[in-house]
């Protein structure tokens, strides 16, 4: 009986499927499919969140609608605690992130290229780096904040977060370079400097971008953690900490959602650049 119902339902579904053929070579079909899957995924996410919030019954897990209302209020009137607008909080976190990120690039990429190029330098640097690498960057937050002040402290925490994945990937990228390319350049009369920036850097670039992509995700974790300690000029981490201390949980969730969006945007951007570079380098 049950088997009969299931097989009839199966046949009906197959018939419906046949009425709506999907052509994977059709760009419009692909676009509609991606959109439908994304929307369905988000709806299910919101429904699961709604159910969990009701099931747990804690104000610390607000309902999606409460968070939506809080978001509208915050972007309209700003944060009542600090008097700052949400855009100002986002802007200050972004500035810290970008400063730490640029600093990490300026130090880790040349250092990684040199370490990949020179075995002696690599051997010399490795013991120190291996001692520092396992330390979670967030553990440096209180130290750096008080040692270097509230302006540079958060920037340096982001720097540490991005530095190690970027350095490792750069060294790895240089080590993966086909030695015959270096030899060919040398045979054609290239100087050491020319080999460095005409062969090694371009060849290592896809790996460097991979490091940037990984580092950017860690960088966001670091900026939020360091802002939880310090409050010069606010920032999203500071906003989340303050709202939690006064029990404004929907606002905390707004902060978390903003961090997620900023993280997705930055990693998405680096992902795109990484894809473009690997495609141009023929490494797909």
């Amino acid at each position: 009986m049950e088997e009969g119902i299931l097989s009839r339902a199966n046949a009906r579904l197959d018939a419906w499927g046949a009425m709506m053929p999907y052509d994977k070579d059709n760009r419009y079909h692909r676009w509609v499919r991606t959109l439908a899957i994304t929307v369905a995924s988000l709806i299910i996410f919101l429904l699961v969140w709604w159910n969990l919030a009701l099931l747990v019954g804690s104000a610390a897990i607000p309902l999606p609608m409460q968070v939506w209302d809080a978001m509208i209020d915050l972007f309209t009137y700003g944060d009542p605690v600090s008097g700052m607008s949400m855009w100002a909080n986002i802007s200050i976190s972004l500035q810290r992130f970008v400063a730490g990120f640029l600093l990490a690039m300026a130090v880790a990429i040349p250092m990684g290229l040199l370490m990949g190029y020179s075995k002696t330098l690599n051997e010399f640097m490795t013991p120190t780096l291996e001692i520092l690498r396992p330390i979670a960057p967030i553990a440096w937050a209180p130290v750096l904040l008080f040692a270097t002040g509230y302006t540079w402290g958060p920037v340096l925490v982001v720097f540490i977060g991005i530095f190690f994945p970027l350095l490792s990937n750069t060294v790895f990228g240089v080590n993966k370079i086909d030695r015959s390319l270096v030899d060919a350049a040398r045979t054609l009369g290239a100087s050491n400097l020319q080999i460095f920036y005409k062969v090694m850097f371009p060849c290592a670039l896809p790996y460097i971008m991979n490091g940037v992509r990984i580092g950017s995700g860690i960088g966001w974790m670091c900026i939020v953690a360091s802002e939880l300690y310090a409050s010069y000029g606010g920032g999203i981490g500071f906003f989340v900490g303050i709202q939690a201390s006064i029990g404004y949980w929907p606002n905390v969730f707004v902060g978390i959602a903003i961090i997620a969006v900023l993280g997705i945007l930055t990693t998405g951007l680096f992902d795109y650049i990484h894809k473009v570079i690997t495609r141009r380098m023929g490494m797909e």
Binding site: M20, V48, N51, L54, S231, S245, Y248
Partner: protein, 370 residues
């Protein structure tokens, strides 16, 4: 088109919607907090760097204050509220979060844990701050930080409320005997502390040792200054008036997510009446251990305290002097909390039965958690 997959997704959506509707119709009773005793009044102070000499709490010194950056323990602290009140109402300046630019028309605040304010002052990150004891005395009288005392908070608000003991309402109603015994032991501990504060009193050295062990200060000059700056009291007499002022201030600032009317209170006074229950304290005060009926076992209470806070020294002294033991109470202090907001979150989520914390986090979290 994978119709089977899409059918499954639609079925899942319908099931989740149905369960959500069902769950939202179930009424779940939330636990609330109730204040059962006071811990201390006053006990905080304002300090400034010696590079900005001559600051006082005189309202006619507006020009000296403009453009300075002061550290506070955060917007949910009574210290923040007192400094904000002084700056905006007495000095007539704005009280703004510091973000690089300074104007003589504002005093700026930045959030720093009191234990780190001295280092921030030395590093030149701040011009001064407001902190609870023993940090205030440590920064001013510890002769390490290049700071001086601008004044105590008692000068700005005499008998102002500070720390309180909040309990879970569910725990209180289910364990009235535990609350009574706890409060009887706590009031006896406060009496012991007050008797030990004067130098030369019989228990003074023990009290100093409790401070060294629990408040993170070693300098005995600082310890004495700090102990004398705190008004240790369990009496709830002045609290309601302070809570009303607190609620009205927070309402004006837009820090309360729910209105008192939405919560079912006519005004701040009605809310304060509901939040404070002095009946247990009245019934427990002065009772001896022998006045309680014998219990088969010790009563264990999970209690939250703040880290390195001299305001709460009576609980540590009560444990050390076995006062709680004599009333059949075993306190599980667990790991001390960094801030009062964390104690309230632990209390309302059922991780602890009672907690020592500032009165502002009780107000803010109660209203916002409603």
């Amino acid at each position: 088109m994978n119709v089977k997959l899409w059918s499954a997704i639609i079925v899942l959506m319908i099931a989740l919607s149905a369960s959500g509707i069902y769950l939202s119709e179930q009424t779940k009773v939330k636990d609330r907090a109730v204040i059962v005793a006071m811990v201390n009044e006053e006990g905080s102070g304002v300090f400034a760097s010696t590079e900005n000499p001559g600051l006082t709490l005189d309202p006619n010194t507006t020009e000296s204050w403009g453009g300075l950056v002061f550290a506070t323990p955060g917007p949910s602290s009574i210290q923040h509220m007192i400094l904000m009140d002084f700056v905006t109402n007495d000095l007539g300046l704005k009280f703004e979060l510091y973000s690089d630019t300074k104007s003589p028309g504002s005093v700026y605040w930045t959030q720093i844990a009191p234990g780190s304010m001295g280092d921030s002052l030395l590093a030149g990150d701040i011009d001064g701050g407001i902190a609870w004891e023993p940090h205030y005395s440590n920064i001013c009288f510890g002769s390490t930080y290049g700071a001086y005392s601008v004044g105590s908070t008692a000068e700005l608000w005499s008998d102002h409320p500070c720390c309180v003991i909040a309990a879970s309402r569910a725990y209180v109603s289910e364990n009235p005997n535990a609350i009574l015994r706890f409060l009887a032991a706590y009031t006896a501990s406060v009496v012991w502390v007050n008797g030990a504060i004067p130098e030369g009193s019989p228990n003074h050295s023990e009290l100093v040792q409790y401070v060294k062990d629990n408040a993170g200060v070693e300098n005995e000059v600082v310890i004495q200054e700090a102990l004398e700056g705190v008004k240790y009291t369990y009496s709830l007499e002045n609290l309601k008036e302070g809570l009303i002022r607190m609620v009205e201030t927070y309402q004006d600032l837009g820090l309360l997510q729910n209105t008192l009317q939405e919560m079912g209170f006519a005004d701040a006074a009605a809310f304060a009446d509901w939040l404070v229950d002095s009946a247990y304290l009245s019934a427990a005060e002065g009772r001896t251990p022998e006045s309680f009926p014998e219990l088969p076992d010790n009563i264990k209470i999970d209690i939250g305290v703040l880290a390195y806070d001299i305001h709460q020294i009576a609980v540590h002294a009560g444990i050390g002097e076995k006062i709680f033991d004599s009333y059949g109470i075993t306190l599980n202090l667990g790991t001390p909390f960094a801030a009062g907001g964390n104690v309230m979150n632990a209390l309302l989520s059922g991780q602890i039965d009672m907690g020592f914390l500032g009165s502002p986090p009780v107000v803010l979290n109660t209203v916002n958690y409603w």
